[in-house]
Amino acid sequence: MRSSLSLALVLLTAAPAFAQGDADGPTIRLRPIDEASVRIIGVGGTRLVAFDGRSGSSRIVGIPETRHGTGVVVDGQGLVATARHVIEGADFLAVIFPGETEPVATRLLYVDPFHDIALLRVERATPSFVEVPRQRAVLELSQRLSASGYPLEIRERYPAAVSGELSRQRNDGRLQLAMSVNPGNSGGPVIDDQGKLIGIISARGDTNQGVEGIAIVEQARHVATAMEAVATFPDGAAWTDQERLLARIVTALARVENDRPSYEQTALATIREAAAAVTTGEAAMMVAALAWNMHIALLEARRKRDVAMLDTADRRSAEGLLEVARDLARRARNRTPYLIRTYPIMRAITAADGRSWVPARE
């Protein structure tokens, strides 16, 4: 029943991929490049955050070390190109298609050691994609170029367009554009006025140093080279439940506001499934961190200090979450003790021993 409800909610909230807008606003058509632009979310560890809860008690949660950026679909079989730095340090990745909210299972296929390029594979056929040109592009200074991507707000469902012009080619071969891009645009496609892929956004001006309105782009020919390399790889293994569930865990874990996790019934169901499917220490700690955060979020939502103060149904949920978190964290600690560095929440969970552990104050 719960999963049916989740599915219905997803279907209701997902708009058609070709247009966006609400009932009162304009209908905005997406360009082919926008339909091929996807959001990439990665998580590589958690940091500990303590805050004062609504019930007056101190809380400690594991806030994900999140990477988010943009990718562009480059073939019909789910191959996605992005910038290498978007996925560096990520233990797990998820991709969300334009207009959708549910992530798709994602694998890292290839990382270019010498250019800011990486290729991912998603578990979905991708009829909307852009061709990657095999030849060098012929461009002209001040030529108009456009980009698509998912800057800033992680909950926005549609890509944002931005345009600018070619400023120059840098000594390192990358292109410099006069274009205002923001965090989240990295890895996104840049096209010319014919819709041809020119490159992948790699960097932007450092606003801390007063540099604005600059985008640095890796040339599309490096994407083509990466695709040739990937074509020589043996076909990947079948997709697993762990991969599908972890894509949802990554997305749920990344959805925090002001370092506060939120309580979601759908994530609760996912955690239970994922707990049975994880096979690595990193996966165990991802699920454990989300389970821990969810139990804290439930206490906060109900303004209760301790699990014992919750009503019966909530208490059962919170105790179940704690049990999952503790079991997975212990397994991870035994098999992969180094994860205490990247997932320090491991210690808090194992120390809690089934209780809503409250950190001591200095």
């Binding site: 996925i87 050691p113 003790p337 950190p359």
Partner: protein, 362 residues
Amino acid sequence: MPLRLLLRRGGWSGLAAIGLVPLLLACFPQQNRGGGGVTPAAGTSGWRTNAPAGTGFSVSMPGQAQLEYETETEIDGARATVVEGTVVSGQMFFEFAVRTVDGGLAGGVEDLREPNQNISENRSFNDLRVREERSYRHESGYRVLETIFDSKTDGGLAFTAYIRVYVGRTRVIRTTVALPTAQETIYSTQARYFFDSVRLDPADSASPAGNGAIDLDGWSWAYPPEGSFAAYYPGQPRYTSSTFMHDDDERTIHRYVVGGNGAEPSFVVRAIDYGERPPEEALETARGFWIREGWTLSGERPVERRGFGGVELVLRKDGRTTRVRYYATNAGLYEIYVERPDTTTDAVDQAERRFFASFRML
């Protein structure tokens, strides 16, 4: 000021007290706070076993130590309980301190060296020198750092402190003997008896003891703080470091090795700090290094680990093969290699695969 008060003020890092011990002992030459009533010259008859409850630790001392309990807070909020016991006998000072951390130790090597750092940074010591430092594994499985310090009191009295720090899964145990340097030989029997009598709970020795959790087959995880990496070694790696000059800056190379004696295969991780150098440039430099050393490149392919790009090289020279992987990050370059004879066994192949597969950048 009473000795006990001095110790309490310092808590876990209260080794400042031992700097004043000889002075205090000079004032009260036959005081025995523990009440054992045994003079050093009388050897070790009449010593008593001190076994603070719940610590899994015991040690024989020339008297019954009075115990001091304290609760401290770790940097991540975890609670640590510290129990200390001291006995002063003649001109010898005996002390132990057991720190138990809820949820287990995170630091490892930091935990091991922390007492020494506290001593080194303490300004109440004059002319402090580390005479000797060595690290090894106790029969119980705990890691041990043994250090001998020489120093002087304000009054010019030279004294020596022998300190052994044992690191387990949840506990760090410090044992100390301090005595006037001039009488070191006379009292060596008592000092040795004290250290030999230490008994540790083996159940606490099997997990993250800084440089590794020991697996049943002798493999251990190493995740040293200097390198920000984790790797699973077929044994306990040895650590060395060296420096080199680059762009007028002194850079450090941290090296962790298992094996390496002649025909044995070597399992090596080197963490190379190269400052702000672009990863691409560092990879190019690394590639050229082996060629200059006379190795022949017989294979090369791109690799990735946790989203960081790199290259794998296979090199041959004088009947030996080295498979080396480089991963470049903005923080440094990681070099992971296995060097072995060309003629080798399946077991070495398997160990090599396991070693490479385990490597993580944290």
